[in-house]
């Protein structure tokens, strides 16, 4: 078994993701956890780039590492009440702790089994050369209605967010 550069990149990215994701759970300060989560998002983007899915990688960095993480940090700022060193501790309740561990174990087994028993056919062909262009042609061609519906979905999201946040502000 030879180790190619491709494998090395994958191992490096997987290491970044696993370490960062463990940090999200383990770190005591929730702000550090959020920063660790951003690192995990960037690692996943690295995996996408390694799979030649550049556009998905771009979306991952722009939306997840960019916008979602800002949202998470603002949400933390909004509810920050206790002393910051003790914001992300393990639950003192032993039953909750065990239930969480059991749930994680079940999820792990389910994912592991489904990956292990799925046949992934090896396709030697290269990925699409101009993936973004193909996507543009589909957006503007066959899937016009879906594309415009996405705009309405975003509009609903903006209006809903404003209504919710204004309601929260009026209560203050």
């Amino acid at each position: 078994m030879t180790v190619s550069l491709n494998d090395l990149v994958f191992v490096a990215m997987a290491l970044v993701i696993v370490v960062a994701a463990t940090g999200v759970v383990m770190l005591k300060n929730i702000v550090h956890s959020a920063l660790s989560l951003i690192l995990a998002f960037v690692g996943v983007a690295g995996i996408y780039f390694q799979l030649s899915a550049g556009f998905i990688g771009l979306v991952q960095i722009m939306v997840y590492a960019g916008a979602i993480s800002v949202l998470i940090i603002f949400a933390i700022m909004l509810v920050m009440d206790k002393s910051v060193e003790k914001t992300n501790l393990f639950s003192p309740n032993i039953i909750r702790l065990l239930a969480g561990m059991g749930l994680t174990f079940l999820l792990f087994v389910t994912l592991g089994v489904s990956i292990w028993f799925t046949k992934f056919p090896v396709v030697p062909a290269e990925g699409p050369v101009d993936a973004v262009g193909m996507l543009a042609n589909l957006f503007m061609g066959d899937y016009v209605i879906a594309f415009e519906t996405a705009a309405i979905l975003l509009l609903v999201a903006v209006i809903g967010a404003i209504i919710l946040a204004k309601g929260a502000e009026d209560k203050q």
């Binding site: 949202l71 909004l78 262009g133 705009a151 509009l155 903006v158």
Partner: protein, 119 residues
Amino acid sequence: MLSDYSSIGIFLLLTISFPVIALVMAWMVRPKPKQTEEKLTTYECGVDTKGKTWIRFRVNYFLYALVFLAFDVETIFLFPWAVKFNSLGLFAFIEMVIFIAILVIGLWYAWREGALEWH
């Protein structure tokens, strides 16, 4: 397979190694006086803070983040269109104008509700 993106990888390695090398070089040549408490305090300018710094922030920050998220996703949709702008033609242009017009309604609503105002 990796060749297209390997330049990003090399660039990443360079950008990580550059600050490390710069800091190590600076550490090697600089004088190292004894560290007093005054030296170890965080540099701050302006007035000293009163009370705790970890407080709840206004909901306005969250509102900005939510509106930013929606328009960030819009940018993702604009990107393929911009790449293929020349070959797509007028129909796609009108489509994109409709797309942006729908989202501008959201911006107009945010503006009218005073979500962009700071009070």
